[in-house]
Amino acid sequence: MGEVTQMGQTTQELFSDAPGARLLVLGNEAIARGAIEAGVQVATGYPGTPSTEILETLIAAAPRLGFDAFWAVNEKVAFDIATGASFSGARSLVVLKHVGLNVAADSLLQVNLIDIEGGLVVVSVDDPGGTSSNNEQDNRWYAKMAEIPCLEPTNLDEAREMTRRAFEISESLKVPVLVRSVTRLAHMTSALTLGPLAPARPKPHFDSTRTWSPFPPLAPHRRLQDKLRRAAKLLESAGFDAYEGTGRERFGVAAAGFAYNYAREAVERLGVQDRVALIKVATAHPLPRALLARFLDHVERVLVVEDVSSYLEEALLAEAGAMGKKVRIEGRRSGALPGTGETLPDLVLEALAGMVGVSPKAKRKRAVMAFPVVPRRQISFCSGCSHRSTYYALAQAFEGLGLEDPIVVGDIGCYTLGFFPPFNILQTMTSMGASMGTAAALARLNPERKVVAVIGDSTLYHAGIPGLVQIAHLRLPVTVVVMDNSVTGSTGQQPHPGSWQHGDGLTIVPIEDIALACGFPFVRVVGSFQLKRLAGILEEALRKEGPALVVSRQACALEPSEIGRRSIVARIDEALCDGCLACVDEFGCPAFVPALSGSGKIEVDGLECNGCAACKFVCPEAAISFVRRDAPPA
């Protein structure tokens, strides 16, 4: 099947009190199970690949197990919700991707100073290599900056157990605890052994006889440092870290978190177990100093294997310096391993082979291909995606007004694909919601040019609203185009405050109401597939001297309510098609394919077409029509 939900059969078992049972699950599901076993009472977060399935799993578990789990508007709100829950004595969890912790950092760096009540755990899934992100960022540094404990699991069983223990540690020390995972662990599937569920937690109660604030900060800071010393002792006895050696090896490998798997594999594949001491560092903060000292005491040369930054490498250099030991320590910082990108098994194998002076197992000679470049496959909008129509209409509006050099500011979401062919329409993209402020400055400094800010619905709720207020307040000539597909689309259609189809019993907060309340003088809502009407309204907005906002609205093509809904399919009249490729070059729907006959004309792949009919007007020869679909597109 094309679409399979994350919630497979195993999910029911994943929620059950069946200690010892073994299930095949995702790393993210293992973390969710750890939170369930800890008796989590409030779980929240904001969707972001690669972290999303953790909270999705908990949201599915919540009604059955009787706890609270829901998506927050952004990560700071999520962290603040967890804080309030912790102040009430409830165990609370915040789930986010690495950049999400930037959003929540303001709160984290205050709450760390407060004696919290219920265990508060933050799970950050970092994305080494930035496969689904704008950057690669090592959130272990946040633990160091906030002076809080941080655990890094290396497999599914540890992911479950460390998450569970993180709640206990947080509660006993009264300090938030960070669990750092990475993409490979998050989206790795393997066997997980379940542990028992925690007994029912006491009913939450907020103690108003004490105050909950870090101000004045010096005494709380001293207490925090004392907590961290106690954390070091607690974690030393937790058994998360490991030393594999005899105490005589000259060579050493120090591996942090998930990258430990590649270190261990490299040692075994090269067969150098008797010459190399290996340490596993799963406690990223505070680092296990006794273990590091034992290791540094006998090794002369060390390879450090870790994801994203040289956090552990730098700590080892400092530790060796403090011990007065002369040890050659190499890794991402020294260049023994690449300073950027995901840790890969082949890289670790080669670096280790180089260090110990053995040759890696006979490497296969690279075969020669006649065409060594395999055609690139850039990600593109799905068939039936509303963003394609909106960009097409925007390009039409520019053409209609004869604008040669408009500025189009992008934001974070599927619509970021507007950077790529066929539209190539976006010029900037930075952080969530940044389109608003960036466009404000561009409009100020480029008064002779039209400035458009493109932002998705979920991104607008997340961090766009303050910038929207700014644009309205300063009366800046920015045309804001809200690409509203009614869900957080790029992470898998999670609901947000504007998701009418998920809003049973909730208040829906329409974007147009927000814009009107901000004082936008021109606000319009148009269906994304009404290409001509949408282009006309965009033209009208672009002609305004002040702020204007257009909501282009059409549910995400991957929304369950949209899939298989349409009973028509596009067809190209072969006699009318002249092979101009406008439908491919300007619209780029994946359903348009070269005709099998090799005529150079285009035909419709009926399996790919979802019947949205947005392409009705894109053919200059009017060769596109629609017919009834014979069979349901399953």
């Binding site: 399979v4 095949l24 296969r364 291909m369 490729l581 069979a631 399953a634």
Partner: protein, 208 residues
Amino acid sequence: MSPSLPTDVILAGVGGQGSLFASRVLAGAAFHQGVSVLMAETYGVAQRGGAVFSQIRLGYGVSGPLIPRGECRFLLGLEPIEALRRARDYLAPGGSVVLNTRIQLPLETKMAKIRSQPGSDLATIRDELERLEAGRIVEVDALALAMEAGGPATANVVLLGALSCLPGFPLTGEAMERGIEAAGGKAYLERNLLSLAKGREHGRRLEN
């Protein structure tokens, strides 16, 4: 072969082809058969019309889910261009390839400027796989066989059927059936099982 020896399998396809479902079937089959399994998948925005790539490591002796380059013995190409992309980096000499014959051209290749890009027709891809020293190359018109089973959606399962009867492949047909049941999609269970059978029949016919 003994299931305790590690066997690496790669699935290569395009977002929307059901390669995640297919990889879950394989992992579930291994789990059912008592074979240790580690699987890494591409997820999220990376799958939107883009290249999808799953790595599955079967058997003990591995701790990470990523397959070393040039050591993969079984490659399932749900889409031929994607099969070539992964074969170039990962296929072991003599490794087997199951190749769906239906090409899905990347958008940029379709666009007028660069549509003459080489390496995007089946004959070229077959030649390239041979240059890469592929052992068996089993071509499957998976769509046609899926249509026989009731509809286009189970082409992925047809391909799994062909994969599962390659010589040396460590998972049994019965385990594959259990893998399908465990991966969900109850509404399509019968059609999936029929598609698996059609794929196996096709694979076995080629072996004889």
